[in-house]
Symmetry: C2
Subunit: 455 residues, 2 copies
């Protein structure tokens, strides 16, 4: 009999772990318990399903898993794990399923965080009618079928999901207001200066209220009708709203891990080591339910990126199946999105997150082609440098090929490269492709000069 | 009186050196002697001037130099340099100009190499009518005015210039044949497999004869009429040709340097150190007339890239003006172009150039967006790894954003990063921007697995 591997959760992290367990051990018995009714799909694609830009978000079908000889059980909730006897009890349609394991992989993901705003939750503890979250495919279907009756939507939170949904609802002709407590949009990715560059691309008839907090959601009958907000000066405003989307972040779903005694980190995620092992023997955890080290700060953070979930899934799958593979010594957290045609990307902490080291920065906005060549567009690149040693610690970009430029910085950060060395790197140059000095080079050079002067 | 800096040659390298000398020393007396009649222009843009894609290739005008208080003398040929007395003698319109210097920067560039093909050169030592080179703006003007009478063109050499000119002439309705001695196109940038991917993008009515050498150019009267070629099996063919473009590479123009006693390298370029200093005191050299170390092989190569010329210009300008700045410990030679809408890029040696180490490679062709997202295109990425230590030494890419992907590899190579670390790097992911695992990641993973198996 082969090694028995049980995965709890069939999202990107769990699904990938199952796949790589299979690649590592052809004879393993692999079971995935997934509470939802859909096979592995892309959560990040849900706004585009709602805008109808994509028709399908499933990445690996039930057939795919079957073909890989992975036992994927949908609509199956794990009820109990006995670590001593290494058994998992799950329930499907009222029936109990019991499975033993040699390796257990927890991939229980995260839930949307629901802020304590009066009116969001109704008397029975559910969401008020017209209030939505966007975390699951069912959430997306619920929003899609509600849209025809929506004229005014208020989105709480101007992070990636909030703004992607602003674009999706706008494409349906909905009048959208986005309310953000912090002073600028995409605060988890951009500083206020680079956020300002992005904000210019957002149509004027989408109202963005930064520096505003939501006071409450008002109903007419049992349905949402208005949202009241307040700015930092205490001025209040009431917004029409027949739909409210809560997009204020996620909280790790680490219930199962907690129950069986896995060490939980300070942000509520499961603590894991470089092989995705929890504090319990032969129990692994991956994806949004985990905490791991940030590469730059070397402090734990709550994983909330699909790119990391997949990379953890690979490592956990290999290790759970008897292989040996390690995570990097921290994640650089490369992240990106595209909003209203403008690509934005970032890597490493935002300035706010590293204000303690008082980083030196360089920013440059320039053409993606030489001035004399037609068709060039603009990209803004910003880099942050540790003033102690001149090493690149973070970068942001807004505009054409922002993401690939940020991948260059991801590589530089992983190698603890100095901004001086990076500013001398030969970026690819040809008139129809890029200027002799890429905007990323010039941003680095600005930072380099400031760094040298500061020393 | 300020420091006297004399620059010989006003191309990208010389012009940049003058600019950075000025930035470093506000009071320096800076003189640039340029033999040609145009101020600093982009040589790489000449094919696009011929195709009429660009209207102007001048990057820094005479006014610009005047404004920067740099004395740019066009149409001025340096006749003599006396290193002992530190004086330069130049000639302009029959008049002699004599200038003293504290720092001398040689930026004399390169000339097109002319292969010993019968019929290319006429009795008087000039090029046969209808035979062209493309190195200078005057070359481009000569070609442009000749095009109206051209029906069939033969291009000798399928490097970047040869293929860019194939596209330019094709855009004018010329029937083009490209003859390349080596077995595949763009041999200085791509291996035969990645070259094959590019070749599919070239219109079928452009005839590409790889593995063919040119036997001779035949004339009718004093004008080119036919070109005879031969393949590796010795089969001969005669091609119609009322125009022949020689695009077989360049040779360093290091005459002045040789005359004054600078050390010349094995490829005929001026040898320089990490501060762009020649073997003579206070004499610097930059750009296509120089040789410098390749980062990977740590062997000298003849500089032939605008991106390097500019970076050398910065370093030489700063040092010549009394500052202190160093080149990297070698150039990774990032290079790119766009041909028939397809971006191609490479960094580091080609496989042929490092066959002695028998590199491990990984190649992957994949979508630039997740499968479910519309609008994705294909990109092929290939990476080469040193089998001794798993370090990335070279990469090639063909397709969307090839250049920025190659910039990531340039960064990895400069940091001697292992293919394992690079394959674990979090590339930016979002459905409208890039897949969870970028094609560059998967190419690295293919190489990583082969490397591990080989150990």
């Amino acid at each position: 009999m082969g090694r028995r591997i049980v995965v709890v959760g069939g999202g990107a992290a769990g699904g990938t772990a199952a796949q790589f367990a299979r690649k590592t051990d052809r004879n393993a018995e692999i079971t995935v318990f997934e509470a939802g009714k859909y096979p592995q799909y892309s959560k990040c694609a849900l706004p585009y399903l709602i805008s109808k830009k994509v028709k399908n978000v499933v990445e690996f079908s039930e057939e795919w898993f079957k073909h890989a000889n992975i036992n994927l059980l949908l609509g199956t909730m794990v009820k109990e794990v006995d670590v001593k006897s290494r058994r998992v009890l799950a329930e499907h349609d009222g029936e109990t399923i019991e499975t033993g394991y040699d390796s257990l992989i927890l991939a229980t993901g995260a839930n949307s965080a629901i802020p304590p705003i009066p009116g969001v939750v109704n008397e029975s503890g559910g969401l008020t009618k017209g209030v939505f979250l966007l975390r699951t495919l069912d959430d997306a279907y619920a929003i899609s079928s509600f849209i025809p009756r929506v004229q005014h939507a208020v989105i709480v939170g101007a992070g990636a999901i909030g703004l992607e949904m602003a674009e999706a609802l706008y494409s349906h002709g909905v009048k959208v207001t986005v309310v953000e407590m912090l002073p600028s949009i995409l605060p988890g990715m951009l500083d206020s200066d680079t956020a300002g560059v992005l904000q210019k691309a957002i149509p004027e008839d989408i109202l963005i209220l930064t520096g505003h907090r939501v006071l409450g959601v008002e109903k007419e009958g049992d349905v949402v009708k208005k949202v009241s907000v307040e700015n930092e000066e205490g001025e209040q405003k009431t917004l029409e709203a027949d739909m409210v989307l809560i997009a204020t972040g996620i909280k790790a779903n680490s219930e199962v891990a907690k129950k069986i005694g896995c060490k939980i980190g300070e942000y509520g995620g499961v603590s894991i080591d470089g092989r995705c092992r929890t504090s319990l023997e032969d129990v692994y955890a991956v994806g949004d339910c985990t905490e791991y080290l940030d590469f730059v700060t070397q402090k734990p953070f709550l994983v909330g990126l699909g790119s990391i979930a997949v990379r953890q899934g690979i490592v956990a799958g290999v290790n759970a199946a008897g292989g040996r593979m390690f995570l990097p010594e921290g994640f650089v957290q490369t992240r990106t999105t595209k909003l209203f045609g403008v690509e934005v990307a970032a890597v490493g902490p935002t300035l706010k997150q590293i204000q303690n080291i008082n980083p030196v920065t360089g920013r440059f906005t320039g053409g993606t082609l030489p001035d004399y060549f037609p068709g060039g567009e603009e990209v803004t690149v910003k880099v942050a440098v540790n003033p102690a040693d001149g090493v690149v610690v973070a970068a942001q970009a807004v505009g054409v090929d922002a993401a690939q430029r940020i991948n260059v910085f991801a590589c530089a950060i992983m190698n603890k490269m100095s901004v001086e060395a990076l500013s001398q790197m030969e970026t690819a140059y040809a008139p129809p492709v890029a200027p002799t000095l890429d905007p990323l080079t010039i941003a680095c050079d600005v930072a380099r000069m400031r760094y040298v002067r500061k020393r």
